[in-house]
């Protein structure tokens, strides 16, 4: 199946910390973006071919580093204050899975920190060997490119650091510097180009989306006998739903989308998807570019204004929810034109949980009795956002919803859930086929925890609330002996259990109502 060794699982629930080995994952890194992609992203594109650097790359890289550390307190402080205590060294899933020394969070940060010290600190300028400072060379840049694309920016190291140093912040800065010297990542930058041009990561144009939602309406009607609407670009709806584009066609994502639609249908809250903002994910965060992240976020504002909605709700998507919850107000606010009685933005799970508590939804939990569920806390939801009013709501609300629609739920071992959760292995811009080895190895800690509950507690399915987690797991867990369909969306479970009471959608189109009458 692969030309590298896939880790074997013990079923103990945890992974032994491996002995450090050097250069196990040394390599070229993911495919590099061609000049045209860089240009579309407003990054320098004055290099002729993939793999070449821009002229004066060294000066320009250092200028960018100076610029970034002047604009981000996190970067400046984190570069200075690490004491090399080693608390983070055994916390990264990529280190655990690969044993490569440079996948220890502090070692990953040091790739950049050594250069920072050399050019920006007294000790590094005059005593480079003493403090481990290095010159910026082409080889150093290549090492950056390789190892900063073995970080999923999941923030697990930041939880355990006594100073809260977040390797994600360093990775983002490194990627932004690389983007300014000709080493952009093809996967992220090509996708961002599609968002600018077409509106979503997958490049699904408007007509294709209309076809898709129409197909979904037919499917749900065949299944339930009720015309549940999937409104697209419908002005005046109360809610704008922004969801990852994978929800429109991939399994198990699409079952989640059907779940959202059924919830909206039952609650009678009018909603719409948008062709302008047909993507919740924001890869601008992965590449560390505030400007990109803001430009992508402004589409959500544009769509909200265009469709005259009163609320914004985000679908199941991990990094998207971090950007939405933590950054949207900053990047695309203020949202004074929306209904201030609701959180802006709101997570679909907050919406559904609210209605489950209010008793608006009729649920038959036995519909999910064929499953024993566990829940994978998505890294960026767990450590970079919140749901509800109280800290930790991001852990409680998804579990409340699962328990409200399923009879059988078991958590994985405590040091692999909540804010100690392990990343799926595919986050932060790594969900691309040219990075399969690191994706497979990085999934080991989660696979180990899952194996534990499948063996000891009879768990059959793992629910997730992130498009990347779902895609990554369906692709990678089979390497560990699981099957693709063991990964489910949380709203897929809601969809299974919900008993539709409302015969006609509040958003039914006039001609359809006649159809309904005819059928009846």
């Amino acid at each position: 199946m692969a030309d590298y060794e896939v880790p074997t699982l013990t079923g103990e629930g945890y992974c032994e910390v491996p002995a450090v080995r050097e250069d196990v994952m040394k390599g070229k890194g993911p495919f590099i973006a061609k000049p045209a992609f860089q240009e579309a992203m407003h990054f320098p594109s004055d290099f002729a071919e993939i793999g070449e650097l821009v002229p004066n790359w060294k000066e320009r890289a250092l200028d960018k580093m100076a610029d970034l550390k002047g604009r981000y307190r996190s970067l400046q402080v984190f570069l200075d204050i690490c004491v090399k205590c080693g608390a983070c060294t055994d916390k990264c899933h990529y280190f655990i899975g690969t044993s490569d020394a440079k996948n220890m969070p502090v070692a990953r940060q040091d790739l950049l920190r050594k250069v920072y010290r050399r050019y920006f600190t007294f000790a590094g300028k005059y005593f480079p060997k003493l403090v481990g400072a290095t010159d910026l060379t082409e080889d150093v840049l290549k090492d950056w490119y390789n190892y900063y694309h073995q970080c999923s920016q999941c923030r697990r190291c930041s939880v355990f650091c006594p100073y809260g140093i977040d390797t994600a912040e360093i990775s983002m800065a490194a990627r932004e510097i690389l983007d300014h010297v000709g080493y952009g990542q093809k996967y992220c930058n090509e996708i961002l180009g599609k968002v600018y041009k077409i509106g979503n990561n997958l490049g699904l144009p408007g007509p294709a989306l209309f076809d898709t939602v129409e197909g979904l309406e037919e499917d749900v009607e065949d299944d339930t006998g009720i015309k549940v609407r999937f409104p697209l670009d419908e002005d005046g709806a109360e809610v704008l739903l922004v969801t990852p584009s994978a929800d429109f066609f991939a399994e198990p994502h699409i079952d989640g989308l059907i779940g959202y639609a059924k919830v909206f249908h039952e609650t009678g809250v009018t909603w719409t998807l948008s062709t302008v903002a047909s993507e919740a994910g924001n890869f601008g965060m992965f590449i560390g570019s505030y400007e990109t992240m803001r430009r992508v976020s402004l589409r959500v504002r544009e769509a909200a204004i265009k469709h005259k909605v009163k609320r914004i709700v985000f679908g199941e998507c991990g990094h998207a929810w971090r950007v939405a919850y933590s950054f949207l107000n900053t990047l695309a606010g203020p949202f004074d034109f929306l209904d201030q009685r609701y959180p802006i933005p709101q997570h679909i799970l907050e919406f559904t949980w609210g209605h489950l508590q209010a008793g608006t939804l009729k649920i038959d939990k036995t519909e999910n009795d064929d499953k024993v569920l566990t829940f994978h806390d998505s890294c960026n939801v767990a450590r970079g956002s919140r749901m509800g009013d109280a800290p930790g709501g991001q852990f409680e609300i998804p579990r409340h919803v699962i328990r409200a629609v399923c009879n059988n739920f078991v958590d994985m071992p405590a040091d692999t859930i909540h804010d100690a959760t392990f990343c799926c292995g595919g986050g932060g811009g790594l969900l691309t086929d040219d990075l399969m080895e690191i994706r497979v190895k990085g999934a080991q800690p989660r696979a180990e925890a899952l194996k534990h509950v499948t063996t000891h507690n009879g768990v059959t399915h793992m629910a997730a609330i992130c498009a990347i987690c779902k895609s990554q797991f369906t692709k990678v867990l089979p390497y560990y002996g699981f099957t693709m369909d063991q990964i489910v969306s949380v709203h897929q479970l809601v969809s299974n259990a919900i008993i539709l009471q409302r015969q006609v959608s509040v958003q039914a189109r006039p001609d359809e109502e006649e159809d309904e009458d005819d059928d009846a």
């Binding site: 604009r71 919850y325 804010d419």
Partner: protein
């Protein structure tokens, strides 16, 4: 007044200037650098008071480190708490003795041992744990060696060869009031001179080294931010300028 005393007097004035000036420069840099995004590591407090409490737990109990690694936490807390006791004991050289300082003297005296023990544990990790060995630069080893040497030379004076502490106090009292190094200068004991030389070195490297973690942690955005991005709009000056000028990219801004 010996030549050595004059040299030490000048050295401590310079070291103090570098320590205070250097830390002020770095802290001003941290203070003035914007934090454009809300990035607290969640779950995070939703109020400012909560943040103060979170920071208190980090700074006093090393909460995150405790979660991370119990052995490391033990050595770290042993060293830092002992250092505080030792520092309190040493304040007798700069202020008049009072009841509190008298009470603290024995604690500070024996804390020297636990301080060196903690440091020895931290140093041992740099050799024994392969991951920590990999990430250690020469400066990381030397920093521990320096602190241990300071601790051991200090202990020597408490338990082996006593020095004239009254004379030392007079010397530093003189420095503090610019009274020219006291009447008699420093005692001519090699141990006290070594101890003080190393302390001066530590003060000098403080602002240009990882010792900046002490003031730096208070500026760590993942620990000092309130988790309220939906309720309160957070925006930095440079980002606001993009909005004001209606631009997407910073290089399009008019200065």
């Amino acid at each position: 007044m010996t030549f050595v005393s004059i040299l030490y007097g000048l050295l401590f004035w310079a070291a103090t200037l570098i320590l205070v000036g250097g830390v002020v420069v770095k802290v001003r840099q941290y203070w003035n650098t914007p934090a454009p995004l809300k990035i607290p590591t969640t779950p995070a407090p939703v109020t400012q008071r909560g943040v103060v409490w979170r920071m208190f737990r980090e700074v006093v109990f090393f909460q995150s480190l405790f979660r991370s690694n119990k052995t490391l936490w033990l050595f770290a807390i042993l060293f830092h708490l002992s250092l505080w006791l030792v520092l309190i004991r040493h304040s007798r050289y700069f202020v008049d003795m009072n009841d509190f300082l008298v009470f603290m003297q024995p604690f500070g005296r024996y804390a020297g041992f636990t301080m060196v023990l903690g440091l020895a544990g931290l140093w041992a990790r740099r050799f024994l744990v392969d991951r920590v060995r990999y990430i250690s630069a020469p400066s990381d080893h030397l920093m521990l060696a320096l602190l241990i040497a300071i601790g051991v030379s200090g202990l020597m004076m408490s338990f082996v060869t006593h020095t004239d502490v009254t004379q030392v106090k007079a010397f530093f009292g003189g420095l503090l009031t610019f009274g020219f190094f006291g009447d008699e200068g420093l005692p001519a004991d090699p141990i006290v001179l070594i101890h003080l030389l190393l302390v001066a070195l530590l003060m000098i490297i403080f602002p240009i080294s990882k010792l900046m973690h002490a003031p730096g942690i208070f500026f760590s955005p993942t620990r000092n931010q309130v988790d309220n991005p939906r309720e309160k709009r957070h925006i930095s000056g440079w980002a606001l300028e993009l909005e004001r000028q209606g631009k997407l990219y910073l290089d399009e801004l008019k200065k």
